[in-house]
């Protein structure tokens, strides 16, 4: 009963926060010294074109009125039209979102798949050198400037070894000669659904480098967290008793210790998802990935305020959602949190 009340209150709170975010963003992007009309019309403009654009974009109305229009549209899921691409923002975002999510999920998958075992290993090995090394590795992960790291990988695998592509999601030729229908927006799934193995293989090749780049940070985070949790758990009495009873090591580590260490680690995984969402920005720029990050960066750099507002809303909603879930998980597992 208490938990339900907690959930509901957190939910209301999250909505309130998102509204606050929206207002701040709207305000910020409308205070700018830029000219959305000029952006809309493009280079080689004429006076009449700019004036027409100004009227069309309702730029001559007072700001509160514009915010009013904006909220009204928001309720209908209309995020306006991007001044740069002339498409509905919600369309742009929908297309970009699946691209980003595919990358994000793959990176998280890598991070969890590598981070957890490595963290366990680091906690378990008595060898001081190995501990130091793995710790350095984890710290390197969170210290890497992702835009630099991506470039280095490109240098290595594209320029010098020539085995992986430089950027984009798929090779133009492959997409023209072996086209497939974009049903879900997740190319890995869509190509398999179409039984288009040439395209599938190409998509995988294009995913590798960006995913590795993006995974560096969460691997570091997760590895550290798992390691420190495991270390803590391994010092518990019941573990030492298990050892005393000569229960096989592997069973102890993965059966008992990991189970208890995993819950806080899950929190970290969820949080790392949020951080990685932001990391995707820079990685997408390096790899020319047609995702939300690149869209947002372009929007911000050209002061395309409907797009900026749209992206921030979507990103913040995701972020708040993740934090909301994390809060709930933490509340469930940590009895110290009072409702």
């Amino acid at each position: 009963m208490n938990f339900l009340r907690y959930t509901v209150s957190r939910l209301f709170w999250s909505i309130f926060v998102v509204l606050g975010v929206v207002f701040v963003v709207f305000l910020v992007s409308n205070v700018v010294p830029s000219d959305p009309a000029a952006l809309w019309v493009g280079p080689k403009a004429t006076h009449s074109a700019i004036q027409a654009a100004r009227e069309k974009l309702k730029l001559d109305r007072p700001i509160l009125l514009r915010f009013g229009y904006f909220l009204k549209d928001l309720l209908r899921f209309d995020l306006g039209t991007s001044i740069r691409t002339h498409n509905p923002v919600i369309e742009d975002i929908r297309k970009a979102l699946t691209a980003t999510f595919e990358l994000l999920l793959l990176a998280e998958f890598l991070a969890v798949g590598l981070g957890i075992p490595l963290g366990v290993l680091a906690a378990v090995k008595r060898n001081k050198w190995f501990d130091d090394l793995s710790r350095a590795f984890a710290v390197a992960g969170v210290s890497l400037p992702s835009f630099w790291y991506g470039m280095i990988l490109q240098l290595l695998f594209f320029k010098w070894l020539g085995i992986l592509p430089l950027s984009d999601r798929i090779d133009t030729f492959v997409s023209l000669i072996h086209p497939f229908e974009e049903k879900t927006g997740f190319y890995l799934i869509d190509t398999l659904l179409a039984r288009n193995y040439v395209a599938f293989f190409d998509v995988v090749k294009h995913l590798i480098l960006p995913a590795i780049t993006l995974a560096a940070y969460p691997i570091g985070l997760i590895m550290r967290q798992v390691r420190s949790m495991m270390v803590e758990v391994l010092q518990e009495n019941y573990i030492r008793t298990a050892f005393a009873y000569a229960i096989p090591e592997r069973k102890i580590y993965f059966g008992y210790a990991l189970k208890n260490a995993i819950a806080p680690a899950m929190v970290t995984v969820a949080l790392s998802f949020a951080y990685t969402l932001v990391g995707a920005f820079l990685v997408e720029l390096i790899f020319n990935w047609p995702g939300l990050g690149r869209y947002a960066a372009n929007a911000i750099l050209s002061m395309d305020y409907p797009a900026i507002v749209g992206v921030t809303i979507v990103a913040s909603v995701c972020y708040v959602l993740i934090n909301f879930v994390v809060d709930l998980i933490q509340a469930k597992i940590d009895p110290r949190i009072r409702f």
């Binding site: 710790r135 280095i152 010092q235």
Partner: protein
């Protein structure tokens, strides 16, 4: 302090501290030790563009013919200055707010925390990007943008510390004795926050450098021709496929410095957390 002495016993900590000190030293004495000072500050040297690493230019030259090593050393100045400013200013704003919120509780706490929550709900870099691009380019605006995004974290951190400290016996006693609220916050609450703050600040130095570099990379922070690691990597991006050294070395420097800060912060954290301290001292 006790913390530092303990830290110095640890091998990893000693190593990281040495590296950080070297960078700090380089940053301080840069104008005197740098081989090509004018170039470091932006003077172009077109005849020697894009030379690969050699004895004369250990890390090569960039697209304007400037010595990369010199610019990297100067870049340490910009990075450290930025990081220190961001962390210091964020703490300056966040700590009083957090202490006030934690100590007074009730309505004050609610209002302040709701306020910080809005800021905390933005994906971190996104807000900084937004603010920086609104304020305009330049180092000062970038620092401002970062400070606006960071102070809530300090407020939060300090608030939870204040919450637990304020119910301690000696604080209750002080209040009963009639000591003013301000004195209590300053004399009793604040010192208890120092340890976790120290840990957070050290780790944040690394993150601040990374985020500032991200802003520069996107063209929002330091402007050309100032030497700055993020800017050097960004400018080098157009050339790196044929002239690999241009962005590689600045990034390497940045990686080493950020890693050192993070390792140091890691060690501090384990020392501060009593549960992990046992394992540390083995």
């Amino acid at each position: 302090m006790k913390l530092v002495r303990l830290a110095l016993k640890n091998r990893l900590a000693k190593f990281s501290l040495t590296i950080v000190s070297i960078f700090a030293l380089l940053a301080l004495i840069a104008p005197w030790i740098v081989p090509y000072k004018e170039q470091a500050l932006g003077e172009p040297n077109m005849a020697e563009r894009l030379l690969s690493p050699s004895l004369r230019h250990p890390f090569g030259t960039d697209h304007m013919g400037r010595d990369i090593l010199s610019r990297m050393i100067y870049g340490a100045r910009t990075s450290l200055f930025t990081a220190v400013s961001v962390v210091f200013l964020s703490a300056l704003i966040g700590v009083p707010i957090g202490i006030a919120a934690g100590y007074f509780g009730g309505l004050v706490d609610n209002v302040l925390m709701r306020f910080t929550d809005v800021f905390l709900s933005f994906p971190p870099l996104l807000l900084a990007l937004l603010i920086a691009s609104t304020l305009g380019k330049g180092l000062f605006n970038a620092i401002l943008a970062l400070v606006i995004t960071w102070w809530p974290w300090y407020a939060r951190l300090v608030r939870s510390q204040a919450l637990s400290t304020k119910s301690l016996a000696y604080v209750e006693a002080a209040r009963a004795a009639g000591v003013s609220n301000f004195m209590i916050m300053f004399r009793h609450i604040l010192p208890s926050c120092i340890a976790p703050l120290a840990v957070q600040c050290t780790m944040d130095m690394g993150s601040a450098i990374l985020e500032a570099a991200a802003l520069s990379f996107l063209g929002l922070g330091v402007q050309p021709p100032m030497p700055d690691w993020g800017l050097m990597i960004s400018e080098g991006k157009a050339y790196f496929l044929n002239y690999w050294w241009v962005p590689t070395f600045p990034g390497l420097f940045m990686l080493v410095l950020v890693m050192s800060f993070n390792l140091l912060g890691d060690v501090f954290r384990e020392l501060v957390d009593p549960r992990l301290r046992r394992r540390m001292l083995i």
